[in-house]
């Protein structure tokens, strides 16, 4: 007779489910960053071609205005977004929604104020940016329209962040593509067609950004497509504002440091090497900004799911996501690094630069992996509440070490380009020392600075399963050991075991039926064969007993399906009807594009 006992095998979490989730986010994230970068490059080329050096200079002088908008947007929205993802992980969906609404409200208020004062003090601001009488009028034109576009520029961050939390990474990419393609088309129309000058370039940027923002907000909030977030205006409390600004500070600091870096490094290169060096640096910066599609894009792909897992105190899942980011990112860095070294002559040709840039490209290639590691750690610490460490690493990596190493190399009559990887490596050395200090002081895990008390307590277990009958029955049986180790009585043990089996079995069956129906509707398909392993649903499950509360959290892929959406008296739903009678609460949500079901017993 069949015996389902398999007591020697343990319940373990594998990375299959989280890999699938991460993989669905990483390509859109990389393409989103890349599209943004290419837009800036093409924008500059078009303006330079039509208006000339003065137009390019005016654009460059107005860069601080653009950076201020980015700082505001990233400060408010990344702060609120990270908090929202943590709250979702903590099953506080109302709280997550509140922070979204606060982000919208604060974003509108601050950007309207900036627009008002920017337009009011347009002349003195423009003269402060540049007092050259040939360029100032262009700055006034560009700045005026840029200020008018502040609201859409700032609110653009809302769908950028919150659509990622919803797992709608493709819509983020579409939004960026609208902005990029729209900007280029409108540049051509306004600059070449209508001859509007720099105002045309600003108008193209504002209109394309506004359309992209509207698209993103509609997908996020419209009744037909929204999932977790509802549009509304909500004034923040002081405590909420403080939390948002602290959590969003690394993103804002990053933008600020990038501006300072540009100013200081340009100055040092000019001082020691002349304008030729700055020209080379422009090429390197252009290529480096493309590489950010990997060094920024890959960690950005994991940021929302990291927040959700952190909110759940799910350390094993956090480690899996980090591992995916590192492996994925390193492979891409190696490919990109090889490409820029072997393609350095072509890059030089494209920029019209005389002489070889192979050595700078080798230095940039060497910097990619440490830059990736720094980027992953900075994002991770930002999400997991170590904002001070995150901010410190940003400041050191982007500004302090860049300035120091550039200065020292040139002061000693050496080429400056090794600063590109020295700044990253020095930051990693700092991290090794600082994280050791913090870990010892606050009794956290050594490098990731996680509180491991819960995972070592034995009160929580994470494991993975697929929807095969054997795996479901095996999970339902093996969980008994965990339950008994946590002093659950026989009724509670039975309830946990039953809930696991009945919920997973129903989800499996509904997905099989759906897959079969799909196959039946496809032409040239023979119905009835269910042996295709791709029909299997993947589950990541967490069972816990904490402070007397017994709970199970299911995450599963497959079709969006809420097992308790409606009363169903059919035979197939007998198990779920049983589960609803033995559980206290059952909550279903779609989180990060995944089905998520949480029950308490």
């Amino acid at each position: 007779m069949k015996n389902s006992d398999n007591s020697n095998a343990k319940l373990v979490q594998n990375d299959t489910f989280l890999s699938r989730t991460f993989n669905s986010a990483v390509i859109p994230s990389i393409l989103t960053t890349l599209t943004g970068t290419i837009t800036i490059i093409v924008d500059g080329i078009l303006v330079g071609q039509k208006i000339g050096l003065n137009g390019l200079a005016a654009l460059n002088y107005c860069l601080p205005l653009y950076m201020i908008q980015c700082v505001i947007g990233s400060l408010i929205v990344s702060g609120a977004g990270i908090i929202s993802s943590r709250l979702i992980g903590n099953s506080d969906h109302k709280g997550a929604n509140d922070y979204c609404q606060v982000a919208v409200t604060l974003g509108i208020i601050v950007s309207v104020l900036l627009t008002f004062f920017g337009v009011l003090f347009l002349d003195p601001i423009s003269k402060a940016l540049c007092s050259d009488p040939e360029i100032t009028p262009m700055i006034v034109e560009y700045a005026y329209i840029t200020f008018l576009g502040t609201v859409s520029r700032v609110l653009l961050y809302i769908p950028f962040w919150y659509l990622r939390i919803e797992g709608k990474n493709n819509h983020v990419l579409i939004s960026v593509a609208i902005m990029a393609v729209g900007n280029i088309i409108l540049d051509i129309v306004f600059l070449f067609g209508l001859g509007y000058g720099v105002a045309g370039a600003a108008l193209a940027s504002v209109i394309s950004t506004t359309v992209a923002t509207m698209y993103g907000l509609i997908i996020l909030f419209s009744k037909k497509t929204r999932v977790n977030f509802e549009f509304n205006l909500k004034m923040p409390t002081l405590a909420m504002m403080k939390k948002i600004f602290v959590t969003g500070s690394p993103a804002a600091n990053n933008n600020l440091m990038q501006t300072l870096r540009l100013l200081v490094v340009n100055y040092l290169l000019t001082y020691f090497g002349g304008t030729d060096m700055v020209a080379y640096f422009t090429v390197i910066n252009g290529v480096a900004s493309v590489s950010e599609s990997i060094t920024v894009g890959v960690p950005s792909a994991g940021i929302a799911i990291t927040g959700i897992c952190y909110g759940e105190h799910d350390n094993p899942s956090l480690r899996i996501i980090l591992k995916k980011e590192i492996i994925y990112g390193i492979l891409l860095c190696l490919v990109f690094g090889a490409a820029i070294i072997f393609g350095s002559d072509y890059i030089a040709m494209a920029y019209g630069v005389d002489g070889s840039i192979r050595f700078p490209m080798m230095c940039l290639a060497a910097s990619l992996v440490p830059a990736l590691l720094c980027g992953i750690l900075i994002h991770f610490y930002n999400v997991t509440g170590h904002e001070v460490l995150s901010n410190t690493m940003i400041t050191l990596r982007i500004f302090v070490f860049a300035a120091i190493t550039t200065f020292l190399l040139q002061y000693n009559d050496m080429a400056p380009w090794p600063f590109l990887f020295q700044e990253q490596v020095l930051t990693l050395f700092f991290w090794i020392i600082a994280s050791g200090f913090i870990a010892r002081r606050r009794k956290l895990s050594r490098f990731l600075l996680l509180d491991t008390e819960l995972e070592h307590s034995g009160n929580v277990i994470n494991f993975s399963s697929d929807s095969s009958a054997e795996q479901i029955a095996g999970a339902s049986e093996k969980i008994v050991t965990f339950c008994e180790n946590n002093d659950m009585n026989p009724k509670e043990v039975m309830s946990v075991s039953l809930a696991l089996e009945e919920i997973m079995a129903l989800i499996a069956e509904v997905n099989r039926d759906h897959a079969q129906e799909k196959r039946n509707n496809e032409k040239n398909t023979v119905p009835g064969d269910l042996s295709n392993n791709s029909d299997l649903v993947l589950f990541d499950i967490r069972v816990f007993k904490i402070q007397g509360v017994i709970g199970i959290r299911f995450r599963y892929d497959g079709i969006p399906f809420n097992p308790v959406a409606e009363e169903n008296q059919s035979d197939m739903y007998m198990g779920i009807r049983l589960v609803t009678k033995i559980t206290q609460t059952i909550v279903y949500r779609v989180v990060f594009g995944m089905n998520s079901l949480s029950i308490t017993i």
């Binding site: 007779m1 069949k2 015996n3 389902s4 006992d5 009958a469 054997e470 479901i472 029955a473 339902s476 049986e477 026989p490 009724k491 043990v493 039975m494 075991s497 039953l498 089996e501 009945e502 079995a505 035979d571 007998m574 198990g575 009807r577 049983l578 009678k581 033995i582």
Partner: protein, 99 residues
């Protein structure tokens, strides 16, 4: 799950031990079917059954219907407290004969 079959005159007793779940319920159903081919009266001893899910309940329901079709009987005996609770919650206590 293990099932031992014992015959006592006209009555067959199936002693079930272990878990009756998605993977093992079909075996229980097969055993019940085979038993009813030999006799119209069936006793299922659940003293060693620690767990039953809806799949197991369906197998028992099938057995009950088979018993009725043969004008026979099916009795489930020595049910543990945990299993009894499942039978009570689902209303199967009113459908099956439990002793």
């Amino acid at each position: 799950m293990n099932i031992n079959e014992a015959s006592n005159g006209d009555q067959i007793t199936l002693s079930v031990s272990g878990r009756v779940d998605t993977t093992t319920a079909p075996d229980l159903q097969t055993s019940i079917t085979n038993a009813f081919e030999k006799s119209a009266d069936l006793v299922i001893d659940f003293s060693e059954v620690e767990y039953i899910s809806s799949a197991g309940l369906r197998a028992l329901l099938f057995g009950q219907k088979t018993a009725q079709s043969k004008n026979g009987s099916m009795v489930v005996t020595n049910v543990t407290d945990a299993v009894k609770e499942v039978l009570d919650i689902t209303g199967f206590s009113n459908i099956l004969t439990i002793q």
